[in-house]
């Protein structure tokens, strides 16, 4: 489904701020995989997503999506097949426009001069009611009035309105309060599982990294240092993961947010 072939990316090359964000990374994600990605800040997780989405291009290597080389394809062209959620719930929606208008853009039905039809509105209502947040009765309200959790749930709905080939979740619940985060995470799980969406999820919460999905990647300094699935993964505990990080990277895991994840 998604194949990354020897991807390298260096920021600010030749300066004191030079940062080798990804080093010769090769990765193959199978159709239907739900992969959680963990790693300390600066490990290259978000850079990986940006390269998959085309936010910027790799210095070397290729990105194949569903067998097609998309390495140099513009981000908005690729977006037809890739859905993405960010940590900041504000990034996925247009605040000055209504819920209905946001959904209309995500749905993208009809030609350039077509307007939202009654059938569209019914479909939006139906989809919104699945979120269980009462948004279906607020379709005319500007999205800017919604809470962070509601906005993130709406973004999730928009990103998966047409089932994408690939869904990228970049700590999409990290900015939400614990109760809302859990709700959005459950929504994510049911949407991804019901539609068999291939999904990559960056998280700082080690428990959800192990609970969700069928495969976990641990990244450090631009490389994947641990890739686990199946029985080995099923028996892993958070303690095992921190221990793995210590032995594989040669450092202790000193990330506050990840440690907080352990206590949870």
């Amino acid at each position: 489904m998604l194949r990354l072939n020897r991807i390298s990316k260096t920021f600010n090359p030749g300066t004191v701020n030079e940062k080798r964000a990804l080093k010769d990374l090769t990765l193959h994600i199978r159709q239907g995989d739900f992969v959680s990605i963990i790693g300390a800040n600066g490990a290259g997780k978000s850079t990986l997503f940006n390269l998959i989405c085309g936010t910027f291009y790799p210095d070397a290597g290729e990105v194949y999506l569903d067998g097609r080389n998309v390495t140099m394809e513009a981000d908005h062209v690729r977006a037809r097949q890739i859905g993405r959620l960010f940590q900041d719930p504000k990034l996925g929606t247009a605040p000055d426009m209504s819920i209905e208008e946001n959904l209309a853009l995500a749905a993208g039905n009809g030609g350039w001069l077509s307007r939202v039809s009654a059938a569209d509105k019914r479909a939006f209502r139906e989809r919104l009611s699945l979120l269980g947040m009462g948004l279906e009765d607020r379709m005319k309200q500007p999205v800017g009035l919604l809470s962070g959790g509601q906005r993130q749930a709406l973004t999730l709905l928009m990103a998966t309105y047409h089932i994408p080939k690939l869904l990228l979740l970049d700590e999409h619940t990290a900015a939400l309060d614990p109760g809302t985060a859990e709700k959005v995470l459950n929504l994510t799980r049911s949407i991804v599982e019901d539609n068999h969406i291939t999904c990559l999820m960056i998280t700082h919460n080690m428990q959800s990294a192990l609970d969700l999905g069928n495969r976990t990647l641990m990244m450090d300094q631009g490389r994947v240092i641990y890739d686990v699935t199946g029985e080995e993964r099923a028996s892993l505990t958070i303690q095992d993961l921190t221990e793995k990080f210590r032995t594989l990277s040669g450092r202790a895991l000193d990330n506050d947010r990840m440690l907080l994840g352990i206590e949870k």
């Binding site: 908005h76 977006a79 929606t93 000055d96 946001n102 853009l105 039905n109 307007r115």
Partner: protein, 317 residues
């Protein structure tokens, strides 16, 4: 002042307000929707006036309207291309096009700074003849402008609800979200600026024909005047209203601006103050909310400064 004079004053304000309203609606699209402050507005206004005047003088008064709009579209296309595909900053792209348009306008009119149209057949004189003998005969300017403004408002309220219109609005609100909807923001910005500049040029075209005179500096300061009107309109129908109401608000703002200006002239304010007044309105409208937010902080800072060192720790004891 007699009632007649008041009415005449109101009518002039209405007519001029409606001519300006077209530019205000253009900025409503580019500034309020697309979030681009299009500084090529002045030059584009004049470009529309020049093209329209040339067409009318050549004997094609009706053709002058689409001709001016096409010229405006071309100008908007250049501005958009500069900022979306050639790496020129948004504000600079407008300024550069604006400067270039001066030379273009002079070239179009054969190096003449003015084109008098006293004897020229214009859309206004045609309408005047058409209405001869009807009770509306004296109101031809108002009628032409009302039709033009109504058409543009109806168009905008339709257009901004289409998929393309939604994408243009989203570009101003959150361009990343437009990209993730598989739409290129460079495309939506280009379409938006083409349409908005077409209206600006139409506005200039009608202004020249209404005044029976083209003058190469007639657009100067237009962007500030229109922005002031737009911001006044926003007081009535703010951000959370529907697009149709907001467009109507923009027209209302243009009229009110002209009305206040006409009243100020009555009270012996010199005519050259128009631009200063519009500048001050823009400053107040944009900076006002900012300063209001800052105000509590400023008070706090002042209060802290007043406190003598030691007093805070020492307290009463």
């Amino acid at each position: 002042m007699t009632i007649d004079k008041w009415l005449a004053l109101g009518q002039t304000a209405l007519e001029l307000g409606l001519v300006n309203a077209l530019t205000v609606l253009a900025l409503f699209l580019s500034y309020s929707m697309l979030n681009v402050c299009d500084l090529s507005t002045d030059g584009c206004f004049t470009l529309g006036a020049a093209v329209g005047a040339l067409a009318a003088i050549a004997g094609y008064p009706w053709l002058s309207l689409p001709a001016a709009m096409l010229a405006g579209m071309a100008s908007g296309f250049v501005t958009a291309t500069l900022q979306m595909r050639m790496g020129v900053q948004s504000l600079l792209a407008g300024i550069v096009v604006n400067t270039g348009l001066y030379s273009l306008n002079m070239a179009l009119t054969g190096n003449k700074a003015t084109l008098p149209m006293n004897k020229t057949v214009t859309v206004f004189t045609l309408t005047k003849n058409l209405l001869k003998g009807t009770p509306l005969a004296g109101q031809y300017t108002l009628i032409v402008m009302l039709i033009a403004v109504a058409l543009v408002v109806v168009f905008l309220s339709f257009f901004l609800r289409t998929k393309l219109g939604l994408a243009i609005r989203a570009t101003g609100s959150n361009a990343d979200m437009v990209r993730s909807s598989s739409i290129n923001p460079a495309f939506t910005t280009t379409v938006g600026l083409c349409v908005s500049n077409a209206f600006t040029a139409l506005s200039g075209c009608l202004m020249a024909q209404q005044q029976k005179n083209y003058e190469v500096n007639m657009g100067s300061g237009m962007v500030t005047v229109a922005l002031a009107s737009l911001l006044i309109g926003g007081v009535f129908f703010g951000k959370h209203r529907g697009v149709t109401l907001r467009a109507v608000g923009a027209v209302l703002g243009a009229f009110l601006f002209r009305l206040v200006y006409a009243l100020a002239l009555r009270m012996d304010m010199p005519a050259f103050m128009l631009k200063a007044v519009s500048s001050i309105i823009v400053i107040i409208a944009i900076s006002g909310p900012y300063l209001r937010r800052q105000f509590p902080m400023m008070l706090k800072t002042l209060r802290m400064r007043k406190r003598v060192p030691g007093q805070a720790e020492g307290g009463k004891g």
